[in-house]
Symmetry: C2
């Protein structure tokens, strides 16, 4: 579903340059749940942003399906992300002036599409956001904001979901509910999920766990629970 | 060290009103490590903000030592926070235009004080920030930003440290290092720590664990590991 081929990402220049990804190659299997773990600063968010076309690589190639992202212009890239990718950001990135409900359906509004009402209800009730829909992000708890960010990524039922530590601010129960929901997206709807997490119990939901260190893949394993 | 007496905090008005704290009474013991756990939206961040004088209560009283926060004017409250309280925010709240180093010593700069160089070195090396000091927040990983926020709260060696989910974005090793550091602050320097966390292993470092639900204390226990 997605692939990094010898990807290098360098931030900055000269002595201040940071080699966030150091020649990383990774294949994300379609219809599978892949978890990515690694120390803080090891390159997980950078990898996710490059795979989702949100950040340009310094060298190497990124493929989504059989499309090389470098062959797309800005408009094509934007459309691909909008139509095929959902992204849960580590810092949520909600629009402060919109309500939770407006934030959740924003990808659809931008595409001029109407939400599937049944699916919207499923997403809202599973993530327990029903009584916070008219609140703005500043009026929500940290975990509520994180769940709104997750709902936004799921609302378009994209082929490919990238989730950057989506349960970092959730208590174990809400976290487990979100993880179950992601697991169902794979089992029932054949979506592809790439989850960055520091939580071993979240990673245990995946089919495969990839370990990063210093911008490279250092290990991987089939999930212990499958 | 800090006390909430029948504290009620209501956000909004009329039908949109949210009773984030519903008559909560809690005593934080001096020189102790208290953990606060509870479901997302149960009032943990609100409680911390009210205890630290960052938010005004709707009714009830908050005491820091034997000072009733309601008796202080804005300047006195600001000075009390600056001199006696350190706060690690759930959303970090770093200044985007300052480097990591500048963010860390900001409480001292504001007070016109110089950092204790030895202590600054201890904080920076324990939190592994030594090679990121001249980076700005947008150039840091999520976990690095969180560690900078923690360093800033610790740099003044305040009597009272409030930490709102300070390890939510950290891998288990960096998280354990931060928690050990907080534990030492209590054991070696008699500081008082109030930690909000979703992580049972972080809560296990505390002397006492308080459980919140719907803006009230519903349970508490002495820590299993002391
Ligand atoms: N400015 C506000 N206006 C309206 N409601 C608010 C506001 N700020 C917080 N709330 C509500 O108050 C309740 C408690 O919020 P709080 O941030 O204290 O929760 P929390 O326990 O820290 O949750 P989390 O674990 O998700 O961080 C939540 O239901 C939230 O929606
Ligand atoms: N804009 C930037 N300029 C310079 N360095 C950067 C920039 N963005 C990220 N970095 C660096 O790249 C490295 C990888 O960052 P990344 O955000 O991918 O880490 P991560 O694995 O997601 O960490 P965490 O678990 O803390 O979220 C970090 O060392 C970080 O400091
Ligand atoms: Mg990250
Ligand atoms: Mg909170």
């Amino acid at each position: 579903a997605a692939r990094a081929i010898e990807v290098v990402k360098v931030y900055g220049e000269g002595t201040a340059a940071v080699r966030a990804l150091d020649g990383i190659s990774l294949e994300i299997d379609r219809g599978r749940f892949t978890a990515i773990m690694g120390a803080s600063g090891s390159g997980k968010s950078t990898l996710l942003h490059c795979l989702a076309g949100l950040d340009e690589v310094t060298s190497g190639r990124v493929m989504i399906g059989d499309i090389d992202l470098a062959t797309l212009d800005d408009n094509e890239l934007t459309r691909l992300r909008r139509d095929r990718i959902g992204f849960v950001f580590q810092a949520f990135n909600l629009v402060p002036t919109l309500t939770a409900a407006e934030n959740i359906v924003l990808p659809l509004s931008i595409a001029g599409r109407q939400p599937d009402r049944d699916w919207l209800d499923v997403v809202i009730s599973t993530l327990h956001l029903g009584d916070r829909l008219s609140h703005r992000p500043s009026q929500l708890s940290g975990g509520q904001q994180q769940r709104v960010a997750a709902a936004r990524a799921l609302i378009t039922r994209p082929d490919l979901i990238f989730a950057d530590e989506p349960s970092g601010n959730l208590d174990s129960r809400s976290g487990a509910q979100l993880l179950d929901f992601l697991r169902k997206a794979v089992n029932d709807f054949s979506q592809t999920i790439v989850l960055v997490t520091h939580d071993p119990s979240a990673a245990a939901q995946a089919d495969r766990i990839v370990f990063l260190a210093d911008g490279q893949v250092i290990d991987e394993m089939a999930s212990p629970s499958t």
